[in-house]
């Protein structure tokens, strides 16, 4: 093989950086899109249920029933927006979605309590969003159970034979953004890297500059690496950008090693950008290349990466397919680094997965790039 030349490599990288700098659309895509996506996804993809609009139909009208309603109000999960007078009002409110839950306290609630009999209360939940509904029911049951315990004990204490002392590790507050933001980095970088680099080689073909380039002694490795370098720089800036936005806006902790993050990010970025260049070299048309890059990265890295949906609970077929979705490995690595503070001793398998991805991406790009004009 001919020796590579640093002069030629540097000339390619510098030229590519100039292209990016002159292209406002690419610049916006490179820096504004990741920041916007983190904010959007960080707020939108949330499994935390807060302030569920709730109506209360208190038919008991006793201090006991008001205590129960207060327990719902003060728990933080429900926002009591209506006090109802009759059960005729329930159906229209739930139908129109004005409230998501209605708490019905029957007239003989206090009487049952006083008689130490079971005192049922009714929760009517809008099941249109099954996820929110089941979480609301769980919260409601917990509130009612704790209210019952207080009612029974009436200030006394009672030794309980066994009870759970639950403590959540790594994401103590069970915040969705702690889970989403680090993982989102993988999805954003996958889509963005492939999309940006999918333009580069196709652009040379479309503008007729490929012919001039191919007539020079530049080596195809120099072309691929040279084009890759500025995008690698952008990728690192984006990673830092996403981490900072995540830390500042969503208070996502960073507990691991920044060096290990950079090493895994580099492998992942090289793989994603190599894939983009492969698509670009094969498609030779910018429009087609961007479409292909979107198809190849968008859905797999959103749905089959474990970012939003747990891979372990998917059908086996999808689990097998997800093995070739590179974002899957980076999502695990990112969560490990950000939340658990673990390094290569735990994440070596993910690191190897991304190393394979980097090698495959580059290999495909170099193979597809031809200095021949047909």
């Amino acid at each position: 093989m001919r020796p590579l030349s640093r002069t030629r490599l540097w000339a390619m990288a510098r030229k590519e950086a100039l292209h990016i700098g002159r292209d406002k659309r690419s610049l916006a895509m490179a820096f504004a899109v990741p920041a916007a996506m983190v904010l959007l996804f960080g707020y939108v993809i949330t499994f935390d249920i807060n302030d569920i609009p709730t109506a209360v139909l208190d038919q008991s009208r006793t201090s006991q029933s008001r205590d129960l309603a207060d327990a719902f109000r003060s728990a933080g999960y429900f926002r009591i927006t209506r006090q109802l007078a009759s059960d005729d009002e329930i159906a229209p409110l739930l139908t129109r979605g004005t409230v998501r839950m209605v708490l019905v306290i029957p007239p003989d609630f206090a009487k049952h309590l006083a008689a130490a009999e079971p005192a049922p209360v009714q929760c009517l939940v809008d099941g249109g969003d099954a996820n929110t509904a089941s979480i609301a029911i769980n919260y409601a049951q917990a509130i009612v159970a704790s209210y019952s315990a207080k009612a029974v004990l009436k200030g006394r204490t009672l030794p309980v034979p066994a009870r759970t002392e639950a403590r959540v590790w790594y994401n103590e507050d069970l915040k969705s953004s702690n889970m989403i933001v680090p993982g989102l980095m993988a999805t954003i970088m996958m889509i963005l890297s492939a999309l940006l680099t999918s333009l580069t080689i196709a652009r040379e073909w479309e503008r007729g500059t490929m012919e001039q380039l191919a007539a020079t002694p530049v080596h195809r490795l120099e072309v691929i690496f040279g084009k890759l370098l500025p995008y690698l720089g952008i990728g690192f800036v984006d990673i830092i950008l996403v981490a900072v936005v995540g830390g500042v806006v969503f208070a996502v902790p960073f507990r691991g090693s920044a060096l290990f993050l950079m090493v895994t990010a580099m492998l992942f970025l090289i793989g994603a950008q190599g894939l983009g260049m492969f698509i670009s070299a094969a498609a030779k048309r910018q429009f087609l290349a961007t479409q292909l890059a979107m198809i190849a990265t968008m859905l797999p890295s959103l749905l089959l990466s474990g970012l939003i949906f747990d891979l372990a609970s998917m059908p086996t077929v999808l689990q097998v397919i997800s093995l070739v979705v590179p974002a899957r490995y980076f999502v695990v690595a990112l969560r490990g680094i950000f939340l658990k503070g673990v390094g290569p001793h735990v994440l070596w398998a993910q690191a190897v997965g991304m190393l394979v991805f980097a090698a495959a991406g580059l290999g495909l790009a170099v193979r597809a790039f031809r200095k021949e004009i047909a």
């Binding site: 510098r14 001039q212 007539a215």
Partner: protein, 338 residues
């Protein structure tokens, strides 16, 4: 002409087998080509072309679009692999030393192929980098290119904003940054106004005077006159190869120009008329190759008048390269039809 009269392995099938006489690269030739052939599927783009180019020569490829000029040049600079045949450029086999050839040549394609979103300076720096030109040599070459192209005042301007003539001179400059001994220009002046074209050819001459070998393709006949030697190409075949003066002498028959308001009808009527070898439209006139100029000058106006076709003027003219080209293509076409 029948197939039997052809010399060498130029027949369709034979052309695809490698030459039995491999070239020994000779440093005395800038470019040496033997039986070079390129097929795209069933289409014979370049059909067994053989020629040599001497150092310092301006060697022109002349022919219509699709004649195989661009394909020939692309094979010589390593952008296309030949289907068959041999080609040496700067003493190197283009098939085995492709990248080494690229370091020794400059190339300018027919479409503007610099980066429009880069400035003049940035384009120069980029191509210099690819050819390994840097440091003091880069600055010296940059100054030379800017002066040569007349772009000293515009070195900071985006290339896309330059006029076409300037773009082409800059492209030429970028192609010779590394001072290659051989320069390939594929229709470098297409779409440029005549004044810019003249200026461009002065640059080509100054490069050739400095010892650069220039291979240039064109479909402008008047540009072909500027070349030291011409290769006339049609349908992938080399139909003539000589100096412009000698190529013009290939046309044996005297030529008459008939100025008439009804050119198409006159050209039509003269096909196969007595004493006429061929007649073709040239702009608003009809060029007629005849056996005897004196006899035809009196016979043809009468012949046309009898058919109700008016003749404004008829006179003898020296054949242009275009006339020769038309005549040779007709002859070639006849041979193919057999």
């Amino acid at each position: 002409m029948s197939d039997a009269t052809r010399t060498g392995p130029t027949g369709g099938g034979a052309a695809l087998t490698p030459s039995p006489y491999p070239l020994t690269p000779s440093l005395s030739c800038a470019v040496e080509v033997q039986d070079l052939t390129k097929k795209f599927g069933d289409f014979m783009a370049v059909d067994s072309v053989t020629f040599t180019v001497e150092p310092g020569e301006i060697f022109g490829f002349l022919g219509p679009n699709g004649a195989g000029k661009t394909t020939t040049i692309r094979m010589l600079i390593g952008l296309l692999q030949p289907t068959a045949g041999e080609a040496c450029v700067a003493g190197l086999d283009v098939r085995t030393s492709t990248e080494a050839v690229k370091q020794r040549i400059g190339y300018m394609s027919q479409l503007f192929s610099l980066y429009g979103d880069l400035t003049v300076d940035e384009n120069i720096t980029f191509f210099a980098g690819l050819y390994g030109v840097r440091g003091e040599r880069l600055e010296a070459r940059r100054a030379w290119v800017l002066r040569m192209a007349g772009l000293e005042q515009h070195h900071d301007q985006l290339t896309a904003e330059l006029s076409l003539g300037w773009k082409q001179r800059l492209a030429l400059g970028c192609a010779v940054l590394h001072e290659p001994p051989i320069l390939f220009l594929d229709e470098p002046t297409s779409g440029v106004d005549p004044v810019s074209r003249r200026n461009f050819w002065e640059l080509i001459y100054s490069l050739a005077d400095a010892g650069t070998t220039v291979l240039v393709s064109t479909h402008y006949m008047e540009e072909a006159e500027y070349c030291h030697r011409l290769a006339l190409m049609n349908r992938g075949r080399l139909i003539a190869l000589d100096t412009p003066a000698n190529v013009r002498r290939l046309m044996k028959e005297p030529l008459l120009e008939i100025v008439t308001p009804d050119g198409p009808a006159v050209a039509q009527a003269l096909q196969g008329a007595p004493g006429v070898a061929e007649a073709a439209m040239f702009g608003r006139a009809v060029h007629v190759a005849v056996e005897d100029a004196g006899a035809a000058a009196t016979a043809l106006p009468a012949f046309l008048a009898s058919r109700g076709l008016p003749v404004e003027r008829i006179h003898t003219i020296p054949p242009s390269l275009e006339d020769v080209f038309v005549a040779l293509v007709r002859r070639e076409g006849g041979a193919v039809a057999g």
